[in-house]
Amino acid sequence: MAHALRLPNFGMGRPLRREEEYNRRQWSEVRGLQTPAWLKEVYDRISALAELEENWDSHGGLPVASGAISETRILLSNLAIEELPKPHVAPIPDGSVGLHWRVGGRDLEIEIEASGPVHYLKTYVGCDSIEDGDVHSLKDAQDALDWVLGR
């Protein structure tokens, strides 16, 4: 006997709203700014880093490079971040941008350098074990984010 299941849409936990249906017809490489809820706030925080002047930390810290800021924006806009909590955004004295997530006992720091290279640092809270490495692709960055979520 054949069975017929009414499926709203594959991969979705609820029926799509009409505006979402229309979005899916379009061919536009954009990401909505309202999900996750913290995205706009974090974007504004990243933008504000551009205002920092030399010696912003009273220890000779360099201004945050515009390249690091735009690379951070591109990185965030291309990753699956919906389930992550809001990251802590911080300038780094060499002009890079740092993103930090803590989920449960896992800490992840991602550092985006002005010249392009991206690095990660994984640590367990209260443990000495540390893993660091370079991010060569979006998949590497996504793998790091999945790690902090315990996947």
Binding site: E21, R25, E29, V30, L33, R73, L76
Partner: protein, 244 residues
């Protein structure tokens, strides 16, 4: 540009057969979830197992600036500018392409005994990216871009809004048509820039599925999109866009 139609008995092999006919023009494909609700039919236990898997196929050209989307009840042709330096392709240049590809689909459907599609809706969409810093800085500036919209700033308690989404629809005088206006805060993934994505979609029900009527409906929708865009956006923004 898109047509929605009464579902054809279109199954998985039809995607491949149709692709083989247009592959020279659209060498890349992607498989996506369908738009709308579908019946997923399966009979994995029986001797004559039947699986009807609803999917939507994307067929993409070499330049990655044109896309055909097909599913059993929907046909769509999208164009996008591959880079800011590339020439803008206007409706007058795109419509003949859409018409040609639609004819290909109809010919294919007839040859494969699926019948001619009975079109329920014609649609024309226009998408515009409004970069932050060009005419607007935050979402309380929306009224400078869209004069019919307020600042969304509260009287006393609320400050300015962090983001705003607008969904509006306007009734067209004939053909059960609607013009939908959508304003969405977004990030362009290519360069990480914050934008407002303005999508204006005109859709209407054709009087028949004759090609001339379908093309007339597209022209009608397009006229509403152009006039709607002009009417919904401010003169100040028009000046900025003309300068660009």
């Amino acid at each position: 540009m898109a047509f929605a139609f009464v579902p054809l008995k279109w199954s998985v092999p039809h995607f491949g057969a149709f692709w083989s006919e247009v592959r020279a023009d659209y060498p890349r494909f992607e498989v996506h979830a369908p738009i709308g609700e579908f019946n997923f039919e399966f009979n994995g236990m029986g001797p004559e197992a039947i699986v009807n898997l609803p999917v939507r196929c994307w067929l993409i050209n070499d330049e990655s600036n044109r896309l055909i989307q097909i599913q059993s009840n929907f046909f769509c042709h999208n164009w996008r500018r591959p880079n800011p330096a590339a020439p803008y392709l206007h409706y007058g240049g795109l419509k003949p392409v859409f018409e040609k590809e639609w004819r290909r689909l109809c010919d294919f459907a007839v040859r494969h005994e699926l019948g001619l599609p009975n079109v329920l809706s014609c649609e024309v969409s226009y998408i515009n990216h409004l970069d932050r810093g060009v005419g607007w800085e935050n979402f309380s500036d929306l009224s400078t871009v869209f004069p019919s919209v307020g600042s969304f700033q509260g009287r006393d308690f609320l400050g300015r809004p962090e983001t705003v989404i607008i969904n509006g629809s306007y009734v067209m005088p004939s053909n059960e048509g609607r013009l939908r206006v959508q304003v969405q805060p977004a990030i362009r993934q290519k360069d990480g820039k914050e934008i407002i994505q303005l999508t204006i979609t005109g859709s209407c029900r054709p009087g028949s599925s004759d090609s001339s009527e379908l093309m007339r409906c597209l022209d009608f929708c397009r006229e509403w999109v152009v006039r709607g865009f002009d009417d919904f956006t401010s003169h100040e923004m028009h000046k900025i866009w003309r300068k660009k």
